[in-house]
């Protein structure tokens, strides 16, 4: 049965980030916009875990937690507090409230999952891995193509890395030896992109698979600015990459 996670935050952005962090796991993430709504939802849904913001209108996180602890049916539900404030005084205050853990914003989805796995057991969603695979990987003729999204963030990078290993294994088993990494949709380089490019190239080279990178002239120039990627030749079109691979 899917794990039920209740995300209580007045910011839709944060609720969506929490939801995305759990996307690869067999979880139902239910949402509430403030403590009052969160309390009502918790009573109705009996979640396995609550991710609770502190500063919210109507009823704050600490007020909701106080009510939660008074209810025998809800008081054992583990709570992870989210706070934008990392000050010592704030941290001490949070820990005194009886929460299991806390996270200071900004946080990465993987960090949240790491904390959550200390409290509950998360199971990967197999179908999700397959869907992700279809989202980024395709085959044209006898060439495997990995197309990176416009904004490559860490969760997407982790998902791609997970899929890449099985893709390369399958390529080795079927004798397909051509791979194209398409970064042309990207709006610019960042550390996540650089690390992923290097990882993809090394993985292909170790498996003796020919690889080419497609990008825009601007991205090509940016890659030249990093020591790790300065030697990479970037093809400016799919045709160029296909003929070179």
């Amino acid at each position: 049965m899917a794990l039920k996670v209740l995300a209580v935050d007045d910011s839709k952005t944060i609720r969506m980030i929490v939801k995305r962090a759990f996307k690869a796991y067999d979880c139902d993430v239910i949402e509430a916009e403030n403590g009052k709504e969160g309390l009502e939802t918790a009573s109705k849904e009996k979640p396995d875990l609550i991710i609770l913001d502190i500063t919210m209108p109507v009823m704050t996180g600490p007020e909701m937690l106080e009510e939660l602890k008074k209810d025998p049916a809800l008081k054992e539900i583990p709570v992870i507090m989210l706070t934008a404030e990392s000050g010592k005084e704030n941290v001490v205050r949070i820990l005194k409230m009886g929460v299991k853990d806390y996270m200071v914003k900004p946080f990465k989805g993987e960090e949240l999952i790491e904390r959550v796995t200390k409290l509950v057991t998360l199971e990967s969603k197999q179908n999700e891995v397959e869907d992700t695979s279809k989202k980024y990987f395709s085959i044209v003729e006898d060439i495997h193509i990995l197309t990176l999204p416009q904004n490559l963030d860490r969760p997407a990078s982790v998902e791609i890395e997970k899929n890449l290993k099985s893709k390369v294994e399958a390529m080795v088993n079927t004798g397909i030896k051509k791979f194209i990494l398409d970064i042309s949709r990207g709006r610019g380089t960042n550390v996540t992109l650089i690390k992923l490019i290097i990882m993809v190239i090394q993985t292909c080279q170790q498996a003796s698979i020919g690889i080419r990178v497609i990008g825009t002239a601007a991205l090509s120039d940016e890659l030249k600015g990093f020591a790790e990627t300065s030697g990479i030749t970037v093809d400016l079109s799919m045709e160029d990459a296909k003929s070179a691979v």
Partner: protein, 160 residues
């Protein structure tokens, strides 16, 4: 009471902005040279949070609409065309100011200037100015991500 004029506000805000952009958006930003005009141009979106206690003040983050959409898409891990509407963009910019303001608030509290943070608010428009008077410190920092600019303003004074 700690001396507000001695606080390294520029260094702290710069660190907080870099951390938020790197962690939440996987975007690199850099502090522009002092003297670079922080006119972000076009339709502007300003996210701000206030703090009140032993220190009183506000932190605002101002970007133009195009950059705000890039930030929102990056924060939510989606393409810009998938953004549902202005509400999502405003919420993301409000949250961005909340994270930067939350970091500053913690810094102030650790320095003995205990204070509480307000819920973020968002202002949009193309033809408005902000004039706040009576503050002990005002810092304006301009950050650059490729061609896009983000302007951060901090106003602060001791209370009592």
């Amino acid at each position: 009471m700690p001396d507000i004029s001695a606080l390294d506000l520029r260094g702290f805000i710069s660190g907080a902005m870099n951390e938020v952009f790197d962690t939440m958006l996987s975007m690199n930003i850099e502090l522009a040279d002092e003297g670079v005009h922080g006119n972000v141009g076009g339709e502007r979106i300003v996210g701000s949070v206030g703090f009140a206690g032993k220190a009183v003040g506000s932190v605002s983050v101002q970007v133009n609409e195009a950059f705000a959409r890039s930030i929102t898409a990056a924060m939510l891990g989606m393409e810009e065309c998938e953004i549902e509407g202005d509400e999502d963009v405003h919420d993301a910019i409000g949250e961005l100011s909340n994270m930067v303001g939350g970091g500053l608030k913690s810094h102030l509290c650790d320095q003995g200037l205990t204070c509480d943070l307000t819920i973020p608010s968002v202002t949009t428009g193309s033809d408005f100015g902000m004039e706040i008077k009576g503050w002990e410190r005002k810092e304006s920092l301009v950050f650059r991500h490729h061609e896009q600019l983000a302007l951060v303003n901090v106003y602060i004074k001791a209370n009592g």
